[in-house]
């Protein structure tokens, strides 16, 4: 099982990110693109490119036959799905296997096990991880939900088992709210994810979102590369991520790493993944979910460890062992990622696609920019509004904050109708709450409504 040519079943910055590592590893690359991405930078960066469909993702990037056809005709022996799109689709991974194509990700059965957010709760509890009081698997009926509500204690959270990206989540503070939340979440889950299963957990009102980066290989080795703190979110959309998690007690940090490795080993996890935890102000951590893919914010960990996570994904997919052991992982300094979106925070974060008449990314010490765009490129209105990830590293968190602000100040993005989150990101970085790192996942929304 060796890999020589990789089809990248994604677009934008992550497609370019993957192509970069492939080129460094001497692997050939195939881009797939929709009509909207015809002139995209990642397409030019690959050795070959196949036009797989029109702008709508369900007819291009999410359309399995088109992606598979593109792989077969170009002789790609592996498919890297990136994040989003088909990256956590176990069926797609099975189709790849059926066609003799290596899917860069965990085995389909593992994806399925960790992808069901109700099932994985039970699996992780069995592996010794702390989980919030909640349902064992899916909740079958409104009556069961109500009885569980009394048992768990309000407030409770109702989540779609197949959900993701912050959709299909509702909080209920009492029985009446629970009845409504159960009904709405079930309906939405059925409609959006094609699976109406929901599960319930106690709701933690103020907590930090801390996730541990994992890598596993076929030999059963699982290592973790420390945590990332993604507490600065708005409506479950991350704005700023950092590592290490500030103010996290050392014993909690160590415990999270050990939990992550134990949980991943339990399910035979291979490739890259993230184990997500909530950490409440007392330092109590509980397991939330596993993201079975490379994540948007993975460069934060790369900055601290020097490890190329995509290279390790490809290595594991090719049947090789990880290039390092847990003991060889060293975490140095502090890193911060700022997601620069073509959105207008002053207009309810409305997307502002358009042509980037000016696009000057920052440079200099400790600055990394991952973007799918260059000056003159057009941000299509068809996909997410991420135009660049700015990631900085510095010896200390305070220096990293200063560097992030310096780099954001340098970052020039202009275009007719184009607004970005750069001013908001600078505003958030400058807040005393961020400096003191007392913020929880609710902070941004509270701040914006001040």
């Amino acid at each position: 099982m060796s890999v020589g040519k990789v089809l990248i079943a994604n677009r934008g910055e992550i497609a370019l990110r993957i192509a970069r590592t492939c080129r460094e590893l001497g692997l050939r690359t195939v881009a797939v693109y929709s009509t909207a991405d015809r002139h995209a930078r990642y397409v030019a960066a690959c050795d070959e490119a196949v036009h797989i469909g029109p702008a709508p993702a369900r007819r291009s990037y999410l359309y399995v036959p088109a992606v598979i056809e593109a792989a077969l005709r170009t002789g790609a022996d592996a498919i890297h799905p990136g994040y989003g799109f088909l990256s956590e689709d176990a069926d797609f991974a099975r189709v790849c296997a059926g066609q003799g194509i290596t899917f860069v990700g965990p085995r389909p059965e593992v994806m399925e096990a960790v992808g069901d957010k109700a099932k994985v709760r039970a699996l992780m509890a069995a592996a010794g991880l702390p989980v919030l009081p909640g349902s064992e698997g899916a909740v079958g009926s409104p009556a069961e939900a109500e009885s569980l509500g009394e048992e768990i204690g309000y407030p409770v959270i109702v989540k779609a088992a197949a959900g993701g990206g912050g959709r299909g989540i509702e909080v209920a503070r009492d029985r009446a709210e629970l009845r409504e939340a159960f009904r709405r979440t079930t309906a939405l889950a059925q409609q959006v994810f094609g699976d109406g299963s929901v599960y319930m957990e106690r709701f933690v009102p103020a907590a930090r979102h801390v996730e541990v980066q994992l890598l596993g290989d076929d030999s059963g080795t699982v290592v973790h590369l420390g945590e990332r703190d993604c507490s600065l979110q708005r409506r479950n959309q991350k704005l700023i991520e950092e590592a290490p998690s500030p103010l996290l007690p050392e014993q909690v940090r160590e415990a999270l790493g050990a939990y992550a490795v134990a949980g991943a080993a339990r399910v035979g996890y291979t490739g890259a993944g993230t184990m997500e935890f909530l950490v409440d102000p007392s330092g109590a951590a509980t397991f939330m979910e596993i993201n079975a893919r490379i994540q948007v914010e993975h460069p934060v960990t790369e900055m601290l460890t020097g490890v190329d996570l995509v290279a390790e994904q490809l290595r594991v997919a090719a049947g090789e062992r990880l290039s390092f052991t847990q003991e060889q992982v060293t975490l140095t300094g502090a890193a911060i990622e700022c997601r620069i979106n073509a959105e207008d925070p002053a207009a309810g974060f409305r997307p502002t696609p358009g042509t980037l008449a000016v696009f000057n990314p920052p440079g200099g010490p400790g600055v990394r920019v991952d973007s799918g765009f260059a000056q003159g490129d057009r941000v299509p209105p068809d996909y997410d509004s991420l135009i660049a990830k700015l990631v900085v590293w510095a010896p200390t968190r305070a220096q990293a904050i200063a560097r992030a602000d310096r780099a954001l100040a340098e970052f020039e993005v202009e275009g007719p109708g184009v607004a970005t989150t750069i001013p908001l990101l600078r505003e958030l970085l400058a807040l005393p709450e961020f400096a003191k790192a007392t913020h929880t996942t609710r902070f941004v929304e509270e701040y914006l409504s001040r």
């Binding site: 797989i52 036959p65 088109a66 598979i68 056809e69 005709r73």
Partner: protein, 160 residues
């Protein structure tokens, strides 16, 4: 203003015009076939290469516009339309090997008529004409891999 000054101003004006025309040629989106500027009778003429957008601004005496021969050949027939691949896959002219092709050059097709199939992952996807007309070219070869949006068959639209 003296006569001499007026003359000077006119010259300056014409120089500016010339520069503007040169600039215009560079910035106009379509290909400009000819630009003529007359000093004597103050005539400006601009001819675009595409007949559909040919434009003239002629001052007295009028000068007839002449579209170059090359430009005529470059004109695209607006009645020609292409049936494109609805997805990435392999294009087949016929329903099965050895069978007669769905269409041949010269055939008339109705809107909705199958002109070929694209196979992707063992599934046959029919390719249908969107408009009535005459098949003037089968662009993609039989069993040829095609991408999304690639032209497969060209049709001259219109009723018989």
């Amino acid at each position: 203003m003296s006569e001499r000054e007026q003359e000077h101003d006119q010259h300056a004006a014409l120089r500016v015009l010339r520069e503007e025309v040169a600039h215009l040629v560079k910035t106009v989106p379509g290909p400009v076939a000819a630009v003529s500027l007359r000093l004597g009778d103050c005539a400006l003429e601009v001819t675009w290469a595409s007949a559909a957008t040919a434009a003239q601004v002629v001052a007295a005496p009028a000068v007839p516009a002449q579209a170059p021969a090359a430009a005529e050949e470059a004109v695209e027939d607006p009645a020609l339309t292409a049936v494109t691949a609805p997805l990435v896959g392999t294009f087949y002219h016929a329903p099965e090997p050895g069978a007669a092709p769905y269409v041949r050059v010269g055939d008339r097709v109705r809107a909705g008529q199958t002109v070929g199939v694209v196979e992707a992952m063992k599934l046959m996807n029919q390719v249908v004409a969107e408009q009535e007309g005459e098949v003037v070219e089968v662009v993609a070869g039989n069993a040829e891999p095609v991408e999304y949006g690639q032209a497969l068959v060209r049709i001259r639209v219109g009723s018989a």
